[in-house]
């Protein structure tokens, strides 16, 4: 087994930006005939390479539009890179958009199974974790109510509880992730801290150098789709602060 949990090798991601979205045949034919089927090419990621060792906690920093989300999506396997490849060893838990697999007509209980299945868990595994998920989400008797009657806080609480029920090898976190009220926030942070203490590999997207210094041992700066710096978090955070000030 390799000592690396994540290997990103020369990943480039090309998007075609149409001025207008062509999604119907008429538009397509007209544009094709008049040769206006033009688009601007946009490289969201350019030759990105880095390796993350098992147990490393990497802060990913960069301005808006630097390619942070695109990078995380290629690592999560949602986007396939135009060039290069990504290797991830072990179970990956992306805590990015909690509850993307929920069906509003289903009850919370039914959604636990559906969402778990979407994350690729087996039925027996979800059954085993069911009580723990319900308890952690603090939904109580609402678990059997249809999800369309849930508040957004209830949905994210349930999403968080399901996504973290598994012991992942790689955890992808977004700073802007807000889970419920203050009390639940503390509880969820505690759970993430416990996972970190267990030696899980973490990718953490953040704008705050303070939090990156506190949580991460490594850091990476993305600018216009390229890795500008990758190294010890203190060093990189100093660089990032400088970049922000000089902007």
């Amino acid at each position: 087994m390799s000592k690396y949990a994540i290997e990103v090798n020369h990943v480039s991601m090309l998007f075609h930006l149409n001025k207008e979205r062509v999604d119907n045949a008429k538009e397509y034919v007209i544009r094709f005939l008049t040769r206006k089927l033009s688009y601007t090419e946009f490289w969201a990621l350019k030759d990105v390479s880095f390796k993350v060792e098992k147990g490393d906690r990497v802060g990913i920093m960069g301005f808006n539009g630097a390619g942070k989300s695109t990078l995380l999506k290629t690592i999560a396997g949602v986007l396939k890179p135009t060039m290069g490849d990504v290797k991830v060893r072990g179970v990956i838990a992306p805590l990015l958009e909690l509850g993307a697999g929920f069906d509003m007509n289903y009850s919370g209980a039914e959604n636990i199974y559906l969402y778990g299945a979407t994350m690729g868990y087996s039925k027996s595994f979800i059954k085993e974790k069911y009580d723990e998920i319900v308890e952690f989400s603090e939904l109580g008797e609402f678990i059997n109510a249809p999800m369309k009657s849930y508040s957004s806080g209830m949905k994210t609480r349930l999403g968080f509880s399901i996504a973290t029920a598994v012991k992942p090898d790689v955890l992808i976190l977004d700073e802007v992730l807000s889970v419920g009220d203050a009390a639940f926030k503390d509880k969820s942070e505690q759970r993430i801290m416990d996972m970190m203490a267990d030696g899980v590999t973490v990718l953490y997207v953040s704008h705050s150098t303070d939090r990156v210094r506190k949580l991460c041992n490594k850091a990476l700066i993305l600018t216009k789709g390229q890795v500008v710096a990758f190294g010890e978090s203190d060093e990189i955070c100093d660089m990032y602060t400088e970049m922000v000030n000089s902007k």
């Binding site: 999604d23 119907n24 045949a25 396997g77 949602v78 007509n105 299945a117 979407t118």
Partner: protein, 281 residues
């Protein structure tokens, strides 16, 4: 993500996500009738009521019972159920990628799970709705008016049903791929299914239209694979006592080949284009 993905990892991936497939199929079925008073009974009522309407409208035109038709309501229903399954399952599959955009954009899921679950859930409701056909046949046999004689050869009805499943799967995969790039497909397909309803002998028989067996018009109608599938199904359901005289091996070969070619095109197109889906939805 290596470039060449072996067969082994494909089946491994399928095994990992087969529980998701089951969850999606049961979700589609459960939610279809949730909050409706009659619930699952609609699976029986819907085809039964349509049969009554169609029988009422077309009985004077095509309704005369003959050696081929035997019992017009049973004739109607046997064609209509198969056509309905084909239309509904392919429509569900067609829209499956777009309607699951939010998941596909955020979590890695093997995408073919969505059209496949659409076909499978409709297949389950179709199998349940076949009970209506049984009910109607029992009804006519009990009252003794235009009874449909039944023999053990009725089990051959399984053959056209299997062919129909693969035809729907293939067409569904093609439509799902197309729909991602051109949303027009949804509108076009609505018109197409209406045309298909009239091009398939559901309410009529080909000779009632005045086309002789072997005429060019009849030949063109028979190019439609639904013709052969429904014809085979009726041979087993309506003519089970003399199944072999009504069953056509040519139908079976033609329709199976058509279904398999559709599956090959559908899966190949889907597989080649699936990484681009996310950029278009």
């Amino acid at each position: 993500m290596a470039k060449k993905v072996g067969f082994k990892s494909h089946t491994g991936n399928f095994m990992k996500y087969r529980y998701l497939l089951g969850e999606l199929v049961s979700k589609n079925i459960k939610l279809q009738y949730r909050n409706s008073v009659l619930g699952v009974f609609w699976t029986f009522l819907q085809p039964l009521l349509t049969m009554i309407v169609l029988a009422f409208v077309f009985s004077n035109l095509f309704g005369r019972n003959s050696a081929e038709v035997v019992n017009y309501p049973v004739y109607l229903l046997s064609g209509r159920l198969l056509h309905q399954f084909f239309v509904q399952s392919t429509k569900k599959a067609m829209k499956s990628i777009r309607s699951n955009t939010s998941i596909i954009k955020k979590v890695y899921v093997p995408k073919y799970i969505y059209p496949l679950s659409g076909i499978l859930s409709n297949f389950v409701t179709f199998l349940i709705s076949l009970l209506v056909l049984v009910g109607v046949m029992v009804f006519y046999n009990v009252i003794g008016k235009n009874p449909v004689a039944v023999s053990w050869q009725i089990i051959f009805a399984v053959v056209p049903v299997i062919v129909l499943f693969f035809l729907s799967l293939g067409v569904g995969m093609i439509l799902a791929t197309l729909d991602v790039f051109f949303k027009d497909v949804e509108n076009l397909y609505d018109i197409f299914t209406l045309l298909l309803f009239y091009l398939t002998p559901i309410v009529y028989t080909i000779d009632r239209l005045g086309f002789a067996e072997g005429s060019w018009q009849a030949m063109i109608l028979k190019l439609n694979p639904m013709y052969g599938i429904i014809d085979m199904f009726r041979a087993a359901i309506i003519h089970s006592t003399e199944f072999m005289t009504y069953f056509s091996v040519n139908d079976l070969i033609y329709c199976s080949a058509f279904a398999l070619i559709c599956c090959a095109i559908g899966f190949l197109a889907f597989y080649k284009k699936q990484d681009k889906f996310i950029l278009h939805i």
